[in-house]
Structures are given as structure tokens and as C-alpha cells.
Symmetry: C2
Subunit: 258 residues, 2 copies
């Protein structure tokens, strides 16, 4: 299979660098084709702006989504964006690897999503009707591909537990897993999270590598997070609220998981 | 009062540009001192890396938090970081203004938090004991200052409602409001969110300006989001889980709001 790892860590001699090295070797040994987008090493441009199109703004002023649409449709995107989209088309599965900084991904990876997820590629896809509100949340360009987060945190596991002060890790990752991965069509696997990284040692690292190997060996067997598809009947259209008879009276991120 | 607006939008001739212009004028007319950190205009450096310190890494390799700590303590941070910290010290209130991109802030603003929130400034502050786990979540460097998000979205309000497909807006913003603002001490005001921006017109814009004026006029009277303070007795230490007798049996972001 073809596997892309998109990684965001600023120092190769780090836990994330070592995990990345292990993952690449393990996947290659298993016979997979592997590409790595190591965003810091690539000096990835983080900010979405008018320079992301090779032509001047379509309108009088720059408009992020309309100019993204034009550049994508006309093949006028900056080369770095087009290359990442090509890697996504090539991939059967994508691992997104990053340290959790301020309860989200590092800026450089957010900039990967902001820029690579062009209008017409990751959003603004598909038709809108009374029964179908665009190809998104389970449908879209990346449908059929699998995605998994590999996340490290300084905080303790208990701080991210169901009643932990940081909030439950699944809720913290929901805007990423549901909003950035499921949205353009990815099948999302449960994340692998490594907590309390300041207490790492060789023995723990070996155990994490073993866990990671298991996750990588089972990329195609692992049961995905059962997010509800937008256009499969669970949501009213166009309000896109969950039908009243589904999880009646309940609210929050959890209702969007079957 | 001293008010800082940290804003992230790539085009001045835009809804966010117009809102920013209105806010600055309104606050100045009311007699406030205003500073604006318009991150795109400043060409803000988004990615946290070894160049954020004026000296080489303390250890053999770059370590984001340890090198941040050293640079902060020794006055060896890059000047752009030190300047933003100084603006935060100066401010009585801070408005964070951005379009919601992929259910979070634009990369350039995430990079503002990643870099300005140095070790010793926004985290790693205060003592750790059996009754006090650092100055955070309601205590810290920014305690006593107020913060408010001003957010625009392309999506409809119903899509962000309690049962909307994107997830409730309060939950989407929790990692920001609780994790980035309340964490280093800010008193967090309810956000002002403008939905479905593609349908903007002059009449609606005037109404939003009126709403924003009201929010700005009442920055010191508005009731804040009542997040629970970490060290006020509601959490076990050091597990930092909510005490079993508080919101018994409940989980999720909501339990951290009184």
C-alpha cells in the first residue's frame, strides 16, 4: 500500500523524530511504499495568502476561498500545494504526526491543512440539493483512504481523561479528526496518543514502538471511528442538525459518533 | 483602558478588515488606548523553531520548551516574541479576531500562540505542590486581564448549534478559550461569532457593528465564562480530574464550566 506521513516537529533528534524514523522503517520492511512530508524539514510555508496562486486575485481584492477555487480549477496553484495534493491522491493511508501544542497541532501543520485543502479539493466539492449537501463528512475527494493521528503530549493521561482538566482527548481531537479528516472523506482510525513525554526512557520508547508497529500492521483491519455520514439520512438538510429521533435530547461532539 | 487586538486575516479589504477598522475606531472614540497586532500585515513568523532564541540550543539538540524557558528567563528571545509579550503585559483586555478555518484559527495565529506563549510566561509558571499544580487555568501571568474571541465562519449558525454537524461552537472553541486563554490566566468573555459570511450585506454589516460596539462597550461589565479554577478545590491534584462529587457522572468539556 501507499502510505504518506505528514509530520510536524522542529528537531529530528527528538521523540517525534525517533518515532517517525521507526514508522518509516517498519512500513518499508512490511513492503509498503512510504512518502514523508516532514513540514519543518521542507520549510513548509504556513500562512495561506495571495501567493498561493500563480496569478493575481480574480476579483478586485484577494479572497481566500474564491482564489483557491480558481487556482485549483485552472492548475494555477503554487507547486508546493499541488505536490501535497498529489501525495494525498497517491496515498492509501495517511498518518498525521505531531506534538500537541496548546491543545492543537503546531502552526506549520495547521498551515498544511489551510493551504493543501483547496476549494474544489477538500471543500466546495459535490452538488447541493434537498437530500445532499455537498460531498463532505464521509464523502469527498479523499473517500476510501484511511487516516490516523499520532500525537505526543507533555501532559499526563489523567489530565486528558473523561473528567480531566484539559478535556477528554477525543473531544480535543474532534475538530481535527471530524473537521479536517472525516470532512473531505477520510476514514478515521482511533488516534495513537503518547502522554507525559518528559518521562520517556528507552524501555518506554521500546513499548511505544511496539504499540505503533501494531497500529501500522493493522491500518486496514482497525475499526474506524464511526462518525455519522452527513448525507446518509441522520441529518436534516440544509440545517444539518441531527434528526430529533437520533440520540434524542443529547448534544455535544459525541452525538456525531454512532 | 489598554486594549490589544490580535488579528489574523490576509486581506484588509474584507469583512474582517472592516470589523477591525470599526473596532479600533470605536474603542479610540471611547477614550481607550488601542494596539493592533495584525499578523498578516506584520508578516508574523508562524513556526516555532530554534531561531526563536538568540543563542544556540542549551542542550545538544533543540528542545522547544527548554530553549523557550532559557531564552525567556535570560532575555534572549527573538524581538518579535518579546514585543508581543510586552503588548500582553500592557493590555487590560485582548480581542482575538480571526476567520474560523478548518474549525480552528488560521495557522499564522496558532503560530502567535505557539511562539509568544513562552515557557515561564504562559506555561511552566508557579509552584507545584499537593494543593497547587502551577499557576494555570485561572491563575498565571495574564490573570486579571480579559479576553474575547471575535470569529467569522462561512458555515451557518445551525451547523454549529448544539446538535449541528460541525459540533457546538462552544465546544469547537473550548481548546482555544479554555486551553489558550484561561490557561495562562485570562478572564474569558463569551465569544462574538458571525456566521454565514458569504451572505453579508450592508444592512447586516451595520447590525454586526452595532452588536460589536455593544460588546466593546461592555468589556468590563460582561459576565465571563465561568470556567473552574484548577487550584480552587474542584480538581484532585496531581491527577487533575474533577472531584467525583462535582457534576457526578458527567463528562466532556461542559463539566469545566460552573
Amino acid at each position: 500500500m501507499n502510505i504518506l506521513i505528514v509530520a510536524a516537529y522542529p528537531e529530528a533528534h527528538s521523540l517525534n523524530g525517533a518515532l517517525n524514523h521507526f514508522a518509516v522503517g517498519h512500513l518499508q520492511q512490511a513492503g509498503h511504499q512510504v512518502q514523508v512530508s516532514s513540514l519543518y524539514a521542507m520549510k513548509w510555508k504556513s500562512q495561506l495568502d495571495a501567493d498561493d496562486s500563480l496569478v493575481p486575485p480574480v476579483g478586485e481584492f484577494y479572497h481566500p476561498s474564491l482564489d483557491s477555487k480558481h487556482a485549483f480549477e485552472q492548475g494555477l496553484q503554487r507547486e508546493d500545494i499541488a505536490q501535497e495534493q498529489e501525495k494525498l491522491r497517491w496515498a492509501d493511508a495517511v498518518i498525521f504526526q505531531f506534538p500537541l501544542w496548546w491543545f492543537s497541532m503546531p502552526a506549520i501543520m495547521k498551515g498544511w491543512f489551510d493551504r493543501v485543502y483547496a476549494y474544489g479539493f477538500a471543500y466546495g466539492v459535490g452538488e447541493h440539493s434537498e437530500t445532499h449537501w455537498g460531498d463532505r463528512y464521509g464523502e469527498g475527494t479523499l473517500a476510501g483512504k484511511r487516516a490516523m493521528l499520532l500525537v505526543t503530549t507533555g501532559g499526563w493521561a489523567s489530565h486528558y481523561s473523561l473528567r480531566g482538566i484539559n478535556g477528554p482527548i477525543d473531544d480535543i481531537l474532534f475538530p481535527i479528526q471530524h473537521g479536517m479528516l472525516f470532512y473531505p472523506g477520510f476514514t478515521v482510525l482511533p488516534p495513537m496518543v503518547i502522554y507525559h513525554t518528559s518521562k520517556m526512557n528507552e524501555q518506554k520508547f521500546a513499548a511505544y514502538c511496539e504499540e505503533l508497529a501494531g497500529r501500522l500492521d493493522n491500518l486496514w483491519q482497525t475499526e474506524p471511528v464511526p462518525f455519522r455520514q452527513q448525507n446518509a439520512g441522520d441529518y436534516t438538510i440544509p440545517a444539518l442538525t441531527l434528526r430529533p429521533d437520533i440520540a434524542p435530547g443529547k448534544t455535544g461532539f459525541g452525538v456525531h459518533v454512532k
